[in-house]
C-alpha cells in the first residue's frame, strides 16, 4: 500500500510538506495571532506578479517571486503607514493588482505558459530539487529572523501601542513581519499554489491556538500538525488521483472543523 514512497517525486513531495510546515508554524502563528490573514492573502496573490515576471524574464518564477512579493509586501506596509487608506481597501487592491500584473507579464511573453496552473493551484508532485533548496534556504532565513526578533514580533502582535511606548520600532518590525510573510508565501507556492496557500499558512496555527497559550508551543505544534496534515493530503491526493493542492487544503479545513468540535 505504501509503495508510493519509493518514487523520487513522492519523496520530494514529503520533504516539501515538511519544509512548508516550518514556514506555517513560524510565520503562520504570527499571521493568526496578529489577525493579518487577509493581509497575507493579498501578499500571496501579489506574488503572482513575481511569477509572471519570472516567465517574462525567463528566470525561475519562484526565484522571481521572492523579491517581487517582498517589494509588494513592503510597499503595502508603507502605503498603510503614510497614506490615508483603510487596511481593508489596500488589501483588496494589492490582491487583484498583483494578480493582474502577473497576467500581463505572462501575456507579454509570447507563447504558451505550460505550468502556470501549478503556481496558481500548487503541484507538490512536481517539486524539483531546486525548489526544495530554495524552500530550505527561505525556511532557515525565516527561522533566524523569528528567533532574533521574537520579542519585537510578540510585542507588536500583542499590543502595538504599548510597544511604541517602550521604544520598540514598531513600523520597522511590522515591515519585517510582512517581508517574512512574503518569504513564506514563496515557500508555499509550489505546494498549494497562490490561490490556496493562505489556508495552509493559517490553519495549522488556528488549530493549535485552541490548545495552547504558549507561543513557542504554538509554533512547534503548528509545524508538526502542518506536516502531518499536508502529508495526509498528499497521500489522499495520490491514492484518489485528485489535485494535490486542493486535497491538502480540504484536509486542513476538515481538521480545523474537527478540532473545534473536540474543543467544544
Amino acid at each position: 500500500m505504501f509503495e508510493f514512497i519509493q518514487y523520487g517525486f513522492m519523496q520530494r513531495a514529503f520533504i516539501a510538506a515538511i519544509l512548508v510546515s516550518v514556514a506555517c508554524g513560524a510565520v503562520g502563528t504570527y499571521v493568526v495571532i496578529k489577525k493579518i490573514v487577509s493581509m497575507s492573502g493579498a501578499i500571496s496573490h501579489a506574488a503572482f506578479g513575481g511569477v509572471g515576471l519570472g516567465y517574462l524574464l525567463g528566470v525561475n518564477p519562484v526565484v522571481a517571486a521572492i523579491p517581487f512579493s517582498i517589494v509588494a509586501a513592503l510597499s503595502m506596509g508603507a502605503v498603510l503607514e503614510k497614506v490615508k487608506i483603510s487596511e481593508d481597501t489596500a488589501i483588496g487592491i494589492l490582491w487583484s493588482v498583483g494578480m493582474a500584473l502577473g497576467i500581463i507579464f505572462v501575456n507579454l511573453k509570447s507563447g504558451y505558459a505550460p505550468d502556470l496552473f501549478s503556481y496558481l493551484f500548487g503541484s507538490i508532485l512536481t517539486v524539483s530539487n531546486t525548489d526544495l533548496y530554495i524552500m530550505l534556504v527561505l525556511d532557515l532565513i525565516i527561522l533566524m529572523v523569528v528567533f532574533l526578533f521574537r520579542r519585537e514580533f510578540l510585542g507588536v502582535s500583542f499590543d502595538e501601542e504599548f510597544s511604541k511606548v517602550v521604544g520598540l520600532p514598531s513600523t520597522l518590525i511590522n515591515m519585517l513581519l510582512l517581508a517574512l510573510i512574503a518569504l513564506s508565501v514563496v515557500v508555499l507556492i509550489k505546494v498549494v499554489g497562490i490561490i490556496l496557500l493562505i489556508a495552509l499558512l493559517a490553519i495549522p496555527a488556528a488549530i493549535c491556538k485552541q490548545y495552547t497559550y504558549d507561543i513557542r508551543k504554538l509554533m512547534i505544534s503548528s509545524t508538526i500538525i502542518g506536516a502531518i496534515l499536508t502529508s495526509l493530503g498528499l497521500i489522499l491526493a495520490f491514492i484518489f488521483n485528485l489535485s494535490s493542492g486542493a486535497t491538502i487544503i480540504l484536509v486542513l479545513g476538515a481538521a480545523l472543523f474537527i478540532s473545534y468540535f473536540i474543543q467544544e
Binding site: 489577525k35 510578540l154 511604541k164 511606548v165 517602550v166
Partner: protein, 248 residues
C-alpha cells in the same frame, strides 16, 4: 532644582482639521497625583498620546522631565484602556509584564529584568498568577497586570487612561489603594470622564475639553468642571462621591 515631570506650553493639536487640543499649558510636578477630567472626545487620550510621543503637537512645547517625549520613554509608564487588545492572545502574565522591560533589539531580558518584573507583580499582588494566560483573569486582575507592566519600567511618571472604565466599584477602591502606594515613588496622571470617584482620591484636578480649564487642588475644581460640562455641580470635596447631572 528638580525637573517637573511634565511641562506643556501652548500645545495645540488638530486631527482631520478638527481642533482637539487648544493652547494647553500644564505643569505636573514630581510626585503629583493629578486627574485630568473631561467629557468623551474632549482630547484626554490625545493629550496622553502627546506625552507618550505617539502624537506630535501642531504647535507648542512638551517636556517630560526636561526632555522631548520620545527621549523620555524610559521614565514614563503607561496604563492603556485594557479593552484595546485581544485577550485570547497566547501570552501569560509574566511575559506581559516583562514587556515593560524592553530595552531594544537584540537585547535579551536579563535576570535583573525578570526580578523587576516579578517585583512589579508583587506590588500589585498578582505574583501567584504569573504563569496564567491573560484571558483567564478577571477585568480587575488584568488591570493589575497592566499596572505591573507599566511599573516594570520603573517610571517616574505614570499615565493612566480611563482606569475606572472597565472595573466595578469595589475594584475601583482597591485600585485607589494600590495607586496611593505608588504616590511617593512617581508622579501619577489619571484620565477619566467620571468626576465623582476620581475627586476624592487625587491631589489635583485638571479639566479638559479642547482647552485645559483649571488645574489645582481637587477641592477647588468645581468651577472649572462647570465650565467644561456646561452644567451646575455641587462642590466637590474629599470623601463625598458626586454625580454630574445636566440642569433641566
Amino acid at each position: 532644582m528638580s525637573l517637573n515631570a511634565l511641562e506643556m506650553k501652548d500645545v495645540s493639536f488638530s486631527y482631520n482639521h478638527q481642533q482637539v487640543l487648544e493652547d494647553i499649558n500644564f505643569i505636573i510636578e514630581e510626585k503629583d497625583f493629578v486627574a485630568i477630567i473631561g467629557p468623551n472626545g474632549g482630547g484626554k487620550s490625545t493629550l496622553l498620546k502627546i506625552v507618550l510621543g505617539l502624537l506630535t503637537p501642531d504647535k507648542g512645547e512638551v517636556k517630560v522631565f526636561g526632555r522631548e517625549p520620545k527621549k523620555a520613554l524610559d521614565l514614563v509608564g503607561y496604563l492603556p484602556q485594557y479593552t484595546h487588545f485581544d485577550l485570547d492572545f497566547p501570552i501569560d502574565v509574566f511575559e506581559t509584564v516583562l514587556m515593560g522591560r524592553y530595552h531594544g533589539m537584540f537585547k535579551n531580558y536579563t535576570s535583573e529584568d525578570r526580578e523587576i518584573a516579578l517585583q512589579a507583580l508583587k506590588d500589585v499582588d498578582m505574583e501567584r498568577y504569573k504563569d496564567r494566560q491573560i484571558s483567564r483573569l478577571s477585568g480587575g486582575q488584568i488591570q493589575r497586570v497592566l499596572i505591573a507592566r507599566a511599573l516594570a519600567r520603573e517610571p517616574k511618571l505614570l499615565l493612566m487612561d480611563e482606569p475606572m472604565a472597565s472595573i466595578d466599584p469595589e475594584m475601583q477602591n482597591s485600585f485607589y489603594r494600590l495607586i496611593s502606594h505608588l504616590k511617593d515613588r512617581m508622579a501619577l496622571v489619571l484620565v477619566s470622564h467620571d468626576v465623582g470617584t476620581v475627586s476624592m482620591h487625587v491631589d489635583k484636578i485638571a479639566c479638559l475639553n479642547q482647552k485645559l480649564y483649571y488645574h489645582g487642588p481637587a477641592e477647588e475644581a468645581g468651577e472649572g468642571l462647570e465650565k467644561i460640562y456646561h452644567c451646575s455641580l455641587d462642590h466637590i470635596s474629599h470623601g463625598i462621591p458626586h454625580r454630574v447631572l445636566r440642569k433641566h
